[in-house]
């Protein structure tokens, strides 16, 4: 007989440890343990069998890997937590004795670490440990950014000190500055929750959410201690990430921060970027706020522009000449391989787009009306190359110009409704050059007026959208998420309905249309599913009005007699292939009713085939298959509902 084995000595029972045991082992309080877990990225695990793992009578809820906890045992932070606990004990003991002076001294000393007081800790090593490479850190930046941007917009309370908020805001703005400088912002999306941004840094896609500039409501029981712990970690992380990013583009970190400007609400403009070496510094400094300084005087600006333009023209001419000489100069860029002779395979290469999306807005001067969200617009415009952005002075400091009548402005972003009376007065506001007063609907000539969505849609499509569609007061086209990747068979609102509806749906819809129209007109059997002329569709549906009743009867008959059904099945099986072939060939000449019948028949056959194939699967696989089938069916039902809604809407619009 083998050796008797005690329970809980080996195997899973040893691999897992409950939270209580872990806390006891680490000699920490629960909040400290929580902090440590958050910082070190230790999370509970789900054992295969809870029963085997738990050694206690009551069911434990949270299990950790024993090795994870053992790994925490060597954490230097642990000592800090213990020191803190000791200090707190000392203070509470002093207070218990009524020795307020002693307690005060201890507390005071706590603020001075040199006096054996408060254990001071940093999270550098934790970050290095969790993210051994910079790419690892970038990969995990989603939550970090969302969190910090949220905290930057929170009101300060006792739980969220103002200092923390200020630091979050600063880090976020610094990060935005990097994105602007490196042009690494890719996409953005206006959702009901806030604004989503996606940046691509060193090949990593980072997606984060920035709330709209409102006072955030705190509903439900939200424990800000936990959030604070996360934020503390994330602040450190983003600090290091920012440093690395700044140095990677040759900028000095931290950038110069102008407290005064920040107090006036300059936000992005409160920072002055400097290059690592002094010469470069002057250049880069001009990136963000150089324009802001010489904003106010448009005349001088115009003159300067003219001179600069002249100079540039001259240099361009020179460059043209020089460029020909330098044709053979070696470059780092990838050479474009063109097949010389036909017949060779084409190998894919990274594409060279003619228009760099990073320079999308570089030629324009924007003016933001005071009802527009300045922060997000400023950021996104700058990130896509815009250099000169002006806004109303109520929106804060740092604008290129606060004068709406500045002649250099090319685009104005407006988000206010068109006042009816005024338009009737002025007629076409944009063309009316006689009225000079800045009324509610006043339009400066030579300027494009658009709603904010124009910016986002242009950015997402990497091309300037036509501004007429986005004119103030116009009904906007739907704003679509750029993050959805179209998958086969899923509903896509950008594609016309005819292209994505299933055959059965199309036929049903047409039959329905025909029924409504009630036209029994000439037989036109255009079975082109993707026919774009609606009239044609209606006409071609006409011939089914009469037959639909028959079809129903036939189907009823089918249901009534099982033998007949069987016979039909058999026939279908025999003729299955042939009918399909026929359908394709004779599609244009056959009536749609038969089309439908054929479709049904085919469906039935497919179902039969599926059953047969399923029969070949093992039980386990069959269950899995059925589960997947279920979810897929659910999804396709959703898609179908969407298509149906759209069909109805389109019909309404037509009517």
């Amino acid at each position: 007989m083998g050796k008797l084995r005690k329970k809980g000595q080996a195997g899973q029972a040893k691999n897992y440890i409950t939270r209580t045991q872990a806390v006891k082992k680490l000699q920490l309080s629960l909040p400290d343990f929580r902090k440590l877990c958050i910082w070190k990225g230790i999370y509970p695990r789900e054992p295969r069998s809870r029963k085997k793992v738990s050694r206690s009578a009551t069911a434990s809820t949270t299990f950790y890997y024993t090795k994870d906890i053992q790994y925490l045992l060597h954490e230097p932070l642990l000592q800090k937590f213990r020191d803190q606990k000791v200090l707190e004990k000392k203070i509470s003991r002093a207070l218990g004795r009524g020795d307020v002076g002693d307690a005060a001294r201890l507390e005071r000393n706590a603020a001075r670490p040199d006096k054996t007081g408060k254990p001071r800790y940093t999270l550098h090593h934790v970050i290095r440990e969790r993210y051994p490479t910079f790419i690892d850190a970038l990969r995990d930046l989603d939550d970090c950014l969302s969190m910090l941007f949220l905290f930057a917009n929170l009101p300060s309370t006792t739980a969220v000190p103002a200092k923390m908020i200020a630091r979050c805001e600063r880090l976020c703005l610094e990060f935005e500055h990097y994105l602007i400088t490196s042009h690494s912002l890719r996409k953005s999306f206006l959702s009901i929750k806030g604004i989503y941004y996606q940046a691509s840094i060193q090949g990593e896609d980072i997606l984060w959410l920035v709330p709209y500039k409102f006072n955030q409501r705190v509903v439900g029981d939200v424990d800000f201690r936990i959030m604070g712990t996360f934020v503390e970690f994330y602040m450190t992380l983003l600090g290091f990430v920012n440093y690395r990013l700044y140095t990677s583009v040759g900028l000095k970190y931290p950038p110069k921060f102008d407290q005064l400007k920040d107090d006036q609400g300059a936000e992005l403009a409160a920072f002055a970027l400097e290059g690592v070496n002094l010469a470069a510094g002057e250049e880069t400094k001009a990136i963000t706020n150089g324009e802001a300084e010489h904003g106010p005087d448009p005349k001088v600006q115009a003159e300067v522009d003219k001179i600069v333009q002249q100079l540039r023209d001259e240099t361009d001419e020179k460059d043209d000449g020089a460029a020909e000489d330098d044709e053979e100069k070696p470059s780092d860029a990838i050479d474009k391989f063109e097949p010389v002779a036909p017949g060779g395979d084409v190998l894919p290469q990274p594409s060279y787009s003619s228009s760099d999306p990073a320079q999308l807005f570089s030629k324009f001067t924007f003016f933001l009306s005071r009802e527009t969200p300045r922060q997000s617009l400023e950021f996104i415009l700058r990130a896509f190359g815009c250099k000169r952005i002006g806004w109303d002075s109520v929106l804060g400091e740092g604008s290129f110009t606060t004068d709406e009548s500045d002649p250099s402005i090319t685009h104005q972003i407006v988000d206010r409704p068109v006042v009816q009376a005024a338009t009737s007065d002025e007629g076409d506001g944009e063309d009316n050059q006689t009225s000079q007063k800045v009324g509610p609907n006043h339009r400066y000539p030579g300027r494009v007026y658009v709603q904010p969505q124009w910016v986002w849609d242009s950015v997402n499509d990497e091309e300037l959208k036509s501004p007429e569609v986005y004119a103030p007061g116009a009904a906007l086209p739907p704003h679509l998420s750029p993050f959805v990747k179209p998958t086969q068979g899923q509903y896509d609102p950008t594609v016309p309905l005819e292209e994505q509806q299933t055959e059965g749906e199309a036929i049903d819809a047409e039959l329905e249309d025909a029924g409504e129209a009630g036209e029994a007109s000439e037989v036109e059997n255009d079975m082109d599913i993707a026919s774009d002329e609606d009239d044609e569709e209606e006409e071609e549906d006409g011939d089914f009005g009469g037959f639909s009743g028959e079809e129903e009867e036939a189907s009823e008959d089918d249901e009534e007699s099982a033998t007949l059904q069987r016979q039909r099945e058999l026939e279908a099986e025999i003729a299955g292939k042939a009918v399909q072939g026929d359908r394709k060939v004779d599609a244009k000449t056959k009536a749609k009713l038969e089309e439908k019948k054929a479709l049904e028949r085919r469906k039935k056959q497919e179902a039969e085939d599926l059953e047969r194939a399923k029969g070949m699967l093992s039980k386990k696989k069959r269950k899995l298959f059925e589960q997947m089938q279920y979810t897929n069916n659910k999804k396709s039902a959703e898609d179908m509902k969407l298509r149906e809604k759209r069909r109805r809407l389109e019909k309404e619009r037509k009517a």
Binding site: I38, Y43, R45, T122, H124, P132, T133, D140, D143, M147, L150, L154, F189, S191, I192, K193, Y196, L207, P211, Y212, F214, Q216, R217, V218, V219, G220, V222, I226, M227, F230, G239, F240, Y243, R244, Y253, P254, E371, D415, Q451, P452, L476, P478, H479, L480, S481, F483, V484, P493, G576, R612, A613, K614, M616, L617, K621, F625, M628, L642, K645, L649
Partner: protein, 780 residues
């Protein structure tokens, strides 16, 4: 004495009028006249008279005298009463008790330096101290010496406007209103403001209250918040006594100690301690707290390249990174396409649902301008929940099969590829009474032979279903098996009924005479062999395993040419591919259950001395000299040349009913009574490659198509046949594809028996089944 006394009285009265305090102070009264206590114990009388006096005071002197008389008259009786009584009364009055001790120290006062009294002789001749009159000057201790005080309290003086007096003094005497000047005087007063005029009236006297210059100054200083009197400097310089006075001589003559002129070591130590602390930065110069805080913050924010010497590490296999949040879809847009907006029912359903049951935590909303988008209320909460998930949610690596479910399905050939296969019943062969036990299609594919419970063997034209030949082999025993000889050169049928095996040549119209003749020759050669005596000699005393004989003329006329009789009922016949040998199995036959018969030699051999288990069926390998024998549980494969066991196939079925070998020779299908159909790849394993359980009842027979089509079929007691597509690839590495293609139903179940036998047409995708319902059917 009386006059003196009255003098005294008068004086006291005068003093009364001057200051009420004197009267009010009993001390002095007692001290002044110890013997005249009578005045004290009758204060009320005196008071009354005082009041009277005050009424008439200053106006009439005569009344004064009357008063004196009154007093005298009052006093006298008191004197008569005697001192004893008076003293007792006095003792009762607490007020006077104080005076008694005051009397006692008087003798002591004699010894004092200054005497403020005189000693006189009184009327009785006794000593009498006469004290000096106290002069109530400012310096005197009498702090209460004030003018007459009005005692009306805090009531307005106007109450007394209609009275001649303005109140009462401490003794209850009226204080008369002072005479006011006439109208002219008041006019003058109003014109010429006297010095110190305040316009107030002194409550105590009723006179206008005038303040002196000093008093005004005092008021002014109080108003200014200064000291009331500037008599002296309240903070004079201190006069330092010791330093201001220079000592000429040392106080002590002790020699000066060393510590006076040597630097202190202890101090130096202390200083060094501080110096060290400063050097080490432990002591910092003072800074305002906010500045210090800011500096500390800056110190906290250290900036350096954390990933300077980064080295990628292999990810810990146990580490599961947190899943990223899903990117927002179309329906989260502030201005989504309209079809994403919920309908009224959907909205209601969402609102009525429990927040936990909702599929999405938001409802799509449409705002027609960006400025109308409100703040998202639960953003903080959502973030918090994400935080909770990050640190508290157990992570499991779940292999989400993000694949098309159809890829799970086996790669089935397209239906067109699967074709042809039998689908419908073409011909029903009726004629047998009772069950049809066995069917066989002849190698040319023209004739069908059946054998049934009625003991007959019938031959039918396959396509038409016409019976062309029939013979009753045994009236008692059913025909258990019929099998055509598998070569086309002869037309020979083997049938088993009971213990007999018959070989026959069913001659009918379609059989040419030549073929008939060759067939008969094939059967006849054995007789010659047997008669030539080349039969191996049977061991003596042993019964031969089988007897080969002619069945008798009646049967011979019908075409049945040979009868082989074995020891027990034969259930299965299987021919070798060349047609010279055939194997029979009689499951009840114990040792001799499997027999191999050689047609050309009329020889029967029992290959197995002993078999483990009951033999069920046996077959020759289609290509190689191998022989398969199936017992209840296993199928054994023997090499006929080497005479050894090659392989034991274990299908895992409880009771094998039948098996068939693929024409390629590497695959095997096995049917079992426990409803299973098993495909064995002989090269692969002893275990089945696929197990198919599509029948509700036992499987009786399984058959491969032998004519090159990838088909096989099974027959079951549930009355159905199942046709499978079973393609064996040429490539050894590929697995065979097995596709169920058709379920053929038509046979009726009789006595729980459905389809008993099945056979394929040698070339066409047709199959023939034998049913317990007495019919055979051709499916095509």
């Amino acid at each position: 004495m009386g006059s003196k006394l009255t003098d005294k009285k008068r004086k006291s009265r005068e003093s009364d009028s001057e200051s009420d305090d004197e009267l009010g102070n009993g001390l002095f009264d007692g001290v002044l006249s110890q013997s005249e206590d009578e005045e004290d114990y009758l204060p009320s009388d005196g008071d009354d008279e005082d009041v009277d006096e005050s009424e008439s005071e200053g106006t009439e002197g005569s009344e004064d005298e009357e008063d004196e008389d009154d007093i005298l008259s009052d006093d006298i009786p008191s004197d008569v009463d005697g001192e004893e009584e008076i003293n007792r009364l006095v003792k009762q009055q607490g007020q006077l008790e104080i005076t008694e001790p005051g009397v006692d120290p008087k003798p002591k006062g004699d010894d004092g330096v200054e005497k403020n009294y005189r000693v006189e002789r009184d009327a009785n001749g006794g000593e009498r101290y006469v004290y000096e009159e106290i002069d109530p000057v400012y310096d005197s201790d009498d702090s209460d010496a004030k003018g007459p005080v009005n005692t009306i309290g805090d009531i307005p003086l106007s109450f007394y406007d209609s009275y001649p007096h303005i109140g009462y003094d401490i003794n209850g005497k009226k204080i008369m209103r002072p005479a006011t000047g006439d109208a002219l005087q008041s006019l003058l007063d109003s014109i010429e403001v006297p010095k110190g005029w305040t316009g107030l009236t002194d409550v105590n006297t009723g006179n206008p209250l005038n303040l002196t210059q000093d008093e005004l100054e005092l008021v002014r200083r109080v108003q200014m918040g200064l000291l009331p009197n500037d008599l002296e400097d309240p903070y004079p310089d201190t006069v330092e006594y010791f330093t201001s006075i220079e000592e000429k001589m040392p106080l002590s003559s002790a020699p000066e100690p060393k510590r006076r002129f040597l630097p202190s070591k202890n101090e130096a130590k202390q200083v060094m301690k501080l110096v060290r602390a400063i050097r080490e930065g432990r002591i910092l110069p003072y800074k305002p707290p906010e500045e210090r805080e800011r500096e500390e913050e800056e110190q906290e924010e250290v900036h350096f390249d954390l990933w300077q010497n980064e080295e990628p590490q292999a990810p810990n296999p146990m580490h599961i990174p947190a899943p990223k949040l899903a990117p927002p879809g179309y329906d989260l847009s502030y201005n989504p396409p309209e079809e994403y907006l919920p309908s009224k029912e959907e909205r209601e359903a969402w609102e009525n649902a429990d927040p936990e049951d909702r599929e999405k935590e938001y409802l799509p909303q449409k705002h027609n301008a960006l400025r109308k988008v409100p703040a998202w209320g639960s953003l903080v909460k959502e973030r918090f929940e994400r935080c909770m998930d990050l640190y508290l949610a157990p992570r499991i690596r779940k292999n989400r099969l993000n694949i098309d479910p159809n890829s799970l399905l086996p790669k089935l050939p397209s239906p067109s590829e699967l074709k042809p296969f039998p689908t419908v019943v073409q011909t029903i062969f009726r004629g047998h009474e009772g069950r049809v036990r066995s069917v066989s299609v002849d190698p040319t594919g023209v004739a069908l032979a059946t054998g049934g419970d009625d003991g007959t063997v019938r031959v039918w034209e396959l396509l038409t279903g016409r019976q062309v030949w029939s013979v009753r082999l045994n009236s008692d025993e059913p025909v258990n098996a019929v099998r055509w000889r598998p070569t086309k050169d002869a037309f020979i049928l083997a049938a088993a009924a009971g213990e007999d095996i018959f070989l026959m040549v069913p001659t009918h119209a379609s059989v040419t005479p030549a073929l008939d003749q060759t067939s008969r020759d094939v059967l006849a050669t054995g007789f010659g062999y047997a008669t030539n005596g080349q039969q191996p000699a049977q061991p003596a005393g042993k019964e031969p395993p089988a007897k080969w004989a002619r069945p008798g003329t009646k049967l011979e006329d019908e075409g049945v040419l040979i009868r082989i009789t074995v020891r027990s009922t034969v259930k299965v016949i299987n021919w070798h591919r060349r047609g010279d040998h055939f194997a029979t199995v009689s499951p009840t036959g114990q040792r001799s259950s499997v027999a191999i018969h050689t047609l050309s030699k009329h020889l029967t051999q029992i290959p197995f001395r002993k078999l483990s288990g009951l033999a069920q069926t046996a077959a020759f390998h289609p290509l190689r000299p191998l022989f398969f024998v199936a017992t209840q549980r296993t199928i054994r494969c023997y090499d006929l040349q080497k005479l050894e066991l090659v392989k034991v196939v274990q299908p895992g079925a409880k009771w094998i009913s039948s098996f068939d070998i693929h024409p390629g020779g590497d695959n095997l299908i096995v049917g079992s009574y426990d409803k299973r159909l098993l495909w064995h790849d002989l090269d692969l394993s002893n275990r089945p490659y696929k197990t198919m359980r599509f029948h509700g009842e036992a499987i009786r027979q399984v058959r491969y198509h032998k004519g090159g089509l990838p088909l096989f079929a099974d027959a079951s007691d549930d009355g159905s046949l199942q046709i499978f597509h079973g393609k064996v690839p040429n490539d050894q590495l590929e697995n065979p594809t097995i596709v169920p293609v058709k379920m053929l139903k038509g046979h009726k179940v009789v006595n729980k028996l459905g389809v008993l036998d099945i056979d394929w047409h040698p070339r066409e995708p047709w199959c023939v089944s034998a049913g317990a319902d007495g019919t055979a059917r051709l499916w095509m």
